[in-house]
């Protein structure tokens, strides 16, 4: 944050930390790929970083990292970036002016730093965790402001808000049934308060630190988010490659399944049915163990975790679909729709009664089958199996309403005898009269 950082070129800063230009470019290439660009864009990324950092107001691009209803897992994940690491260097070049968890300062001085950043404008807010609306949003009260007020205040003047982690996108864990705190995501709160600041949704539990890095770099590539401030939203959206849910398409455009290293085993029908089995040892597909990879959109299999060392599937765990989060639908919440994790489909519930979809569907089918068998015995007993019962002589309605009858029974040769036919018709009409009188009497009582 010191001025000397800004006056030295980025190359000098990197060199001082023992990072060669070559490895810096390699890193830029990785970021470009994570951002959905070709690695040929590496020089562009490098250039954006260098120029932006050299021209940044006050030396560095200010970022406020605000905690909502979170487990700070996203911060933890972020903090696990190894040192010395190019990624860490780049992030140190971003002025993290406020972070509940990471900042050394505390109390009034930290709050003042935050307020100054907000007044100066042109900063990015990274919001981690859900926002609780219940209990007057007082569960997130800090420095005399409720959780909702903190977000709204910080977002109003920001160039963009990055909703980091599934909780920030649509409530995540915090909004899972029965959600007594009425937790929801950043987009929903900003919409509720009519704030038009663009939101970038980055679900994940936690979100991969490299995803955040790639988005921060992209914001820098846009020229200090200047385009965002100018209000050229469509241009920003196209540059960031956001989809309908405001998620970067390069990261959240394809499913885990699409880029899974175990995909060939899926196609071959080679599955793990039980943990600890021979199939598991062979590294077969985890689909029967409830892997949510086929419906979860994220590029985990490409970016991987812990500096591209491994990821859930490689470590032998089925995907639990932590990136499923629709900012427009709190019900499409990964905890809500993906539990139990080791089952192929979700639990359904009516009120507080939970049940399995297969139990209900198969149960209902069984009941219908049983009812048909019982009905079959009835059909047999009533002698209808052999061609059904004899046809009615006259439609019941026709017998009641002879003047409006549908069938022209005078032509009928039922039993080959029109006289018999007429007698039958009268007989049925009489039966109906008797029945009607009886029911009228019943009602009279």
């Amino acid at each position: 944050m010191s001025e000397s950082t800004a006056t030295y070129g980025l190359v000098d800063v990197l060199a001082a930390r023992g990072i060669s230009r070559r490895s810096f470019l390699k890193f830029c290439g990785t970021l470009a790929v994570a951002a959905g660009l070709s690695s040929a864009a590496a020089p562009r990324v490098a250039n954006a970083l260098e120029t932006e950092l050299e021209n940044a107001k006050g030396g560095l691009f200010p970022v406020l990292w605000i905690e909502g209803a979170s487990c700070t897992g996203c911060t933890e994940s972020f903090a696990q970036i190894e040192t010395p690491d190019v990624g860490k260097v780049v992030l140190e070049l971003i002025a993290l002016n406020y972070s509940d968890v990471l900042c050394a300062g505390a109390g009034h001085s930290l709050e003042r730093a935050k307020e100054e950043t907000i007044q100066n404008g042109n900063y990015v807010v990274v919001y981690e965790g859900g926002i609780t609306q219940g209990f007057g949003s007082n569960t997130l009260r800090v420095a005399m402001e409720t959780g909702e007020e903190i977000l709204v205040h910080a977002a109003e003047n920001a160039a963009a808000v990055i909703a980091l982690g599934s909780c920030a996108v649509n409530g995540g864990w915090m909004a899972a049934y029965p959600n007594p705190a009425e937790a929801t995501g950043v987009s929903a709160i900003l919409k509720k308060h009519g704030i038009a600041t663009p939101v970038v949704n980055m679900p994940g539990c936690p979100a991969n630190p490299e995803w955040l890095m790639s988005v921060l770099v992209q914001v820098l590539m846009l020229g200090g988010a200047g385009a965002l401030v100018e209000g050229n939203i469509p241009a920003v959206v196209s540059t960031l490659g956001l989809n309908d849910e405001a998620k970067p398409q390069g990261i959240y455009g394809q499913t885990i399944h699409d880029n899974c290293e175990r995909r060939p085993h899926f196609e071959n029908g080679e599955f793990v049915y039980e943990f600890g089995s021979k199939e598991e040892e062979l590294g077969y597909c985890l689909y029967p163990l409830g892997c949510k990879g086929p419906q979860t959109k994220a590029n985990c299999g490409v970016t991987m975790w812990n500096n591209r060392r491994s990821w859930c599937i490689q470590a032998g765990s089925p995907c639990i679909g932590c990136c499923e989060a629709n900012p427009n639908d709190p019900g499409d919440n990964w905890v809500e729709v993906n539990t139990p994790f080791y089952k192929r489909d979700r639990d359904l519930h009516i009120g507080s009664t939970f049940f399995r979809p297969t139990t209900v569907a198969a149960g209902l089918t069984g009941i219908v089958a049983a009812a048909l068998i019982i009905h079959g015995f009835g059909m047999k007993k009533s002698g209808r199996m052999d061609g059904g019962a004899d046809f009615e002589k006259v439609r019941a309605w026709d017998a009641k309403n002879p003047d409006k009858a549908i069938g022209q029974y005078e032509y009928s040769v039922m039993d080959g005898d029109p006289v018999k036919m007429k007698a039958a018709q009268e007989e049925i009409a009489k039966q109906y009269e008797v029945a009607e009188e009886a029911s009228a009497e019943e009602e009279g009582r």
């Binding site: 196609e267 029908g269 639908d329 993906n338 059904g388």
Partner: protein, 229 residues
């Protein structure tokens, strides 16, 4: 003998074919659907291939069947060789009027004699009209789950409507059970009073019985199929 004569005119050849296609595709879809939901070793690739192929086939077949209903003629009732445009046999007919409750009563053993009816009784008409809607719904929910189509604007809209891919899967899965339940009832009712309707539907085998006049809406005689009516 109580039933009406079974004539080929009730089920013209094009509809016999679409019925066969429906049957084969539906059975393949249900079997492969179970294999996809509860995978067994070595079958996933072929199960998915057949499932997607049959899904497209049953949808096209459904559309063809609907279009043909406006061009092909079929008998409006059993026991007659008279024909009308097929779609009319799916709409309320005079023969059906006021007969809905009678059918329910008959099946619940509250009515002893067989209700007079058109080719399709009221409950039959309602359930058969639901099937094309269900096929189309299943096709759409299927497309929303199939990677090559799931990211299209329309599928994304549908996914948003139901609350994501998991909900879509549960709906698609429940839809299959609706088909299974329909098939149980359909097969049961078609055969419980004798297998003649099935023989006619699948093999176009005619069978003698009572003759019905669709203009007078009454039974007018008997045909033993020996050449004289």
């Amino acid at each position: 003998m109580a039933h009406l004569a079974h004539y080929k005119e009730a089920h013209p050849l094009p509809f016999v074919i679409t019925h066969w296609v429906n049957l084969c595709a539906m059975i393949c879809l249900i079997i492969t659907g179970f294999l996809i939901h509860f995978p067994v070793p070595l079958t996933m690739g072929i199960a998915r291939g057949i499932h997607i192929f049959c899904g497209i086939v049953i949808f096209i077949n459904c559309i063809v069947r609907i279009i043909l209903a406006f061009f092909v003629k079929s008998a409006p009732t059993g026991g007659t060789r008279k024909v009308v445009k097929d779609y009319k046999t799916w709409l309320p007919q005079k023969d059906n009027r006021h007969q809905g409750p009678q059918w329910v009563k008959y099946y619940l053993f509250m009515k002893k004699d067989h209700p007079l009816s058109a080719k399709l009784g009221v409950p039959q008409k309602l359930s058969y009209l639901l099937i094309p809607i269900l096929i189309i719904l299943m096709f759409i929910t299927g497309l929303c789950l199939w990677t090559p189509t799931a990211s299209s604007g329309f599928c994304q809209w549908c996914l948003g409507l139901v609350g994501g891919a998991m909900s879509m899967r549960v709906i698609h899965y429940f839809g299959m059970y609706v088909f299974i339940i329909f098939m149980f009832i359909h097969v049961y009712l078609a055969n419980v009073e004798g297998t003649e309707p099935t023989k006619l539907m699948f093999f176009r085998k005619e069978h003698g019985g009572l003759v019905y006049d669709p203009d007078k809406h009454v039974i007018v005689g008997e045909d033993t199929l020996d050449g004289k009516e």
